[in-house]
């Protein structure tokens, strides 16, 4: 049978009424846990594993796939409406999405996130079906030095994309990098900056920092303004749905986000966040409306949301082809496979084609179901914004605290949430961007570890960093990204940059 026949057969399996029901339960649960900050799809799948023991393999894997996709999607809703990222991969969404929501454009922001997730999920799932073996080869070529080059590229593009002042952006970034040093050094097992506090041994949780800086910091900022702050936000201004202009500005970011997110998700040390950072930076560079970035540009929601869903599908590439789980959720799905005596890996496609294609088909169905489930809800979600401010922000505080406690029931964690919240407030007051702090915390350890691994393998020879073709190309792009804007700026920017953006379309 050809690949296509297998896929059709898989769709038949997944379209059975019971399996559709499992998919529906999965995406609903997934969306719900995605919405709660701190509680991710990994924990949900883990809790459900014993429950699904009695189901048939296809049914339970379909449900897990639904939870996974739902979780990736659900995080965006709170990011956009409440500026509270539910998952680390929806941090970037909060940047432009929440600004849009406050300008009365919450509807289009949610819609472009939902449709972008759908488009990306669709393309990436089809990619999973047809080009998984090729993608996995690419992912394996990536060793420590290539990852390090990718991190350098991410640092350069991302740090120039946040905020107007380079100095302030870099200051924030370095705060994040400093925080990233806390905890056990992975390569030697020695502790750094933990001051014998056991809670700090494992470093600072990204979601705790993100929720604190975004949600708590914002709440404090609003509260500090008292009644003098800006008037009540208008929940809906203009159309609740995406206008023709919104569509025109969204479709390219969706596609670009997919292309960026899918291969990064497939990389063993990638992580969905990196794809969203790179996508945001790309959109900011290519946009025809640079003035809107930072004030609610729809491209800044469309691209990263597509990237994070595409990377969710990308994660399944190494899982299904190599038996290699690259995220916590994938690790638990692997446990789910093993529960039925299946060993994912190079032989799975040959030994259990029905199951693999059933899973891929159910991902397509889960993806479609998410869209059906969420689009009609947008009208309801934006009503959230009409809640009077004191109530809304009290709700956000409660929500952020519950999520953090749910993920890690510890007093110390709550203390950190508060402390970082105050830090987020101070940074807002003094006009420092907060996103680079979170970026530094995520990228810092990755870059450091990969650099040290590369140098350990080469026994201290620095030239390995540039002798691999992929690493050299990535570093060259990073260098260009750093130098070109400087030159253009020196030659009287504006027009040239605009033309460049236009010609790259």
């Amino acid at each position: 049978m050809s690949t296509f026949d297998f896929l059709l057969q898989g769709l038949l399996v997944a379209a059975q009424p019971m399996n559709l029901l499992y998919a529906l339960i999965g995406v609903t649960l997934g969306t719900a846990v995605g919405v709660l900050p701190g509680i991710g799809p990994a924990l949900t799948v883990a809790l459900l594993l014993p429950v699904t023991y009695r189901l048939d393999p296809a049914g339970s894997l379909i449900m897990f796939a639904g939870i996974y996709y739902g979780g990736m999607y659900g995080g965006s809703t709170t990011s956009i409406l409440l500026n509270t990222p539910g998952e680390s991969s929806s941090i970037v969404t909060a940047l432009e999405g929440n600004k849009m929501a406050r300008n009365g454009r919450g509807g289009p922001a949610l819609a472009t996130a939902a449709i972008g997730s759908f488009v990306a999920g669709l393309i990436a799932t089809i990619g999973l079906a047809f080009i998984a073996p090729a993608i996995v080869k690419l992912a394996l070529v990536f060793g420590p030095r290539e990852y390090f080059a990718l991190m350098v590229l991410a640092f350069v593009t991302v740090s120039s994309a946040f905020g107007d002042s380079t100095l302030r952006g870099l200051t924030s970034l370095f705060i994040g990098l400093a925080l990233a040093l806390i905890g056990i050094d992975q390569l030697t097992g020695q502790t750094r900056l933990a001051f014998e506090v056991p809670d700090l041994l494992d470093g600072i949780e990204v979601t705790t920092l993100a929720v604190a800086m975004f949600a708590i910091g914002e709440t404090l900022f609003i509260a500090a303004q008292g009644n003098t702050g800006p008037d009540k936000v208008e929940a809906v201004k203009g159309s609740l749905w995406m206008t023709a202009a919104d569509w025109a500005r969204s479709w390219k970011p969706w596609l670009r986000g997919t292309i960026i997110g899918f291969p990064i998700g497939a990389m063993p040390a990638g992580g969905a966040e990196i794809g969203t950072f790179l996508s945001y930076a790309t959109e900011k560079r290519l946009t025809k409306h640079p003035e809107e970035f930072g004030n609610g540009a729809i491209e800044g929601v469309a691209g990263p949301e597509a990237a994070n869903n595409a990377s969710a599908a990308g994660t399944l590439v190494p899982l299904l082809t190599l038996g290699l789980p690259t995220t916590a959720t994938a690790a638990i799905m692997l446990a789910g496979f093993q529960q039925y005596g299946l060993q994912p890996g190079p032989l799975l496609f040959a030994t259990n084609p029905q199951l693999v294609w059933g899973l891929i088909a159910s991902l397509l169905i889960a993806n479609f179901m998410l869209l059906v489930l969420n689009l009609p809800l947008i009208g309801l979600w934006v009503r959230l914004l009409t809640i009077p401010k004191p109530w809304l922000y009290a709700g956000i505080l409660l929500f952020a605290t519950l999520g953090t406690i749910g993920a890690n029931p510890s007093v110390f964690e709550l203390g950190m949430l508060l402390a970082f919240g105050v830090m987020g407030y101070m940074m807002r007051v003094f006009g420092y961007p907060i996103a680079p702090v979170v970026v530094g915390l995520i990228l810092g350890p990755l870059a450091e570890q990969q650099l040290r691994r590369a140098l350990a393998i080469s026994q201290g020879d620095f030239t390995v960093l540039v002798t691999s073709p992929i690493a050299a190309v990535l570093l060259a792009i990073a260098a260009l990204a750093l130098i070109v804007p400087l030159i253009l700026r020196a030659r009287g920017r504006g027009e040239v940059l605009g033309q460049l953006a236009a010609s790259e379309d």
Partner: protein, 314 residues
């Protein structure tokens, strides 16, 4: 999680002192890892066998299990219905992190499962046997990079033991720690490192499909169904097992300890547990009572020596 929390509050407030203990099992790791899976398999088996009606699993991730261990020892003291999953990795982590709470502060109940380490190279490697590996190590230990799990963990310890047994200075080994077997596997498959070392299960499907070459396993005797010599046969006197155990809190009375031990023994002999071991590919290494405590003390002492040899512990 929120619901679980509320549900457990409600359950806790209305539950009468039942004859079967409602166990709470702590997995001192994030969902998905070996300890989490052990805890959740225990949960299913305890409930299905009717040993305990209602079992909860709590994850407290971090620092090789030492964060969870510290919390467990202080918060569950004297409670006969609390259990923690742990293992060999914890022994190494306690020593490398200089953890304030050690295994001496809990009540070890029984060793349950274990996995042996496998030493693999990419199929394209020109290292064909353990002898080739030893030659390469002797020529230049730094040029042989080992890819495995976290620093100071079982994989690292096994690499150190192999070097030592081969007569190579263990402080010279070039061990590259990855965050878990999965990431290490990718580096091995991509030939980023010379040799891979991790639990056999991590490599099984790659070995079967021929993309990795299995050089040896770290068991005492050959394992049925695995076509590779033991390290001992290959001339290196190294036996390493990544065992997992279950422990109770400190401060239990002798009767309480006996009751928990009896429950765990019933579990270990049960059909559900035995079947779970088979589907997961875990070895049954059940060992309880004084024999286990003796073995544990031996393992701790041996690990300390190795970690000092490698230079991770001063």
């Amino acid at each position: 999680m929120k619901h679980v929390f509320i549900a457990s509050l409600i359950a806790g407030s209305i539950a009468l002192p039942a004859f079967a203990a409602d166990y709470t099992i702590m997995a001192p790791a994030a969902p998905g890892g070996g300890w989490d899976q052990t805890a959740r398999t225990l949960q299913t088996a305890l409930q299905q066998e009717g040993i305990s009606k209602n079992v909860q699993v709590v994850n407290v991730p971090g620092a090789g299990g030492t964060i969870g261990l510290a919390q467990f020892a202080s918060q569950q003291k004297g409670k006969a219905n609390a259990l923690i999953v742990g293992g060999y990795v914890m022994v190494g982590a306690i020593l490398t992190n200089k953890a304030p709470v050690t295994l001496k502060e809990v009540t070890p109940i029984a060793r349950l499962t274990g996995e042996y380490e496998a030493i693999v190279v990419p199929a394209s490697s020109n290292i064909k046997s353990v002898a080739d590996l030893v030659d390469a190590l002797k020529k230049n230990p730094g040029a042989v990079s080992w890819g495995g799990g976290s620093a100071g963990g079982v994989d690292h310890i096994a690499a150190g033991l192999i070097a030592k047994a081969a007569g190579v200075d263990p402080t010279k080994i070039n061990y590259i720690a990855f965050s878990g077997g999965g990431e290490a596997l990718a580096a091995i498959l991509g030939s980023q490192v010379t040799v891979g070392i991790s639990s056999y299960g991590e490599f099984e499907s790659q070995v079967k499909s021929g993309t990795l070459r299995l050089l040896a396993v770290s068991s005492d005797q050959r394992i049925a169904g695995i076509d590779a010599p033991t390290l001992k046969e290959a001339g290196l006197n190294v036996v390493v097992q990544n065992w997992r155990m279950v422990a109770a809190p400190p401060g239990l009375t002798a009767e309480q300890k006996a009751a928990v031990t009896a429950d765990v023994e019933k579990l270990a002999k049960s059909k559900t547990w035995q079947e779970a071991l088979k589907t997961k590919g875990w070895q049954d290494t059940y060992l309880a009572g004084p024999a286990f405590e003796e073995q544990l003390a031996k393992d701790v002492a041996a690990t300390e020596t190795v970690l000092k040899d490698i230079g991770l512990v001063k």
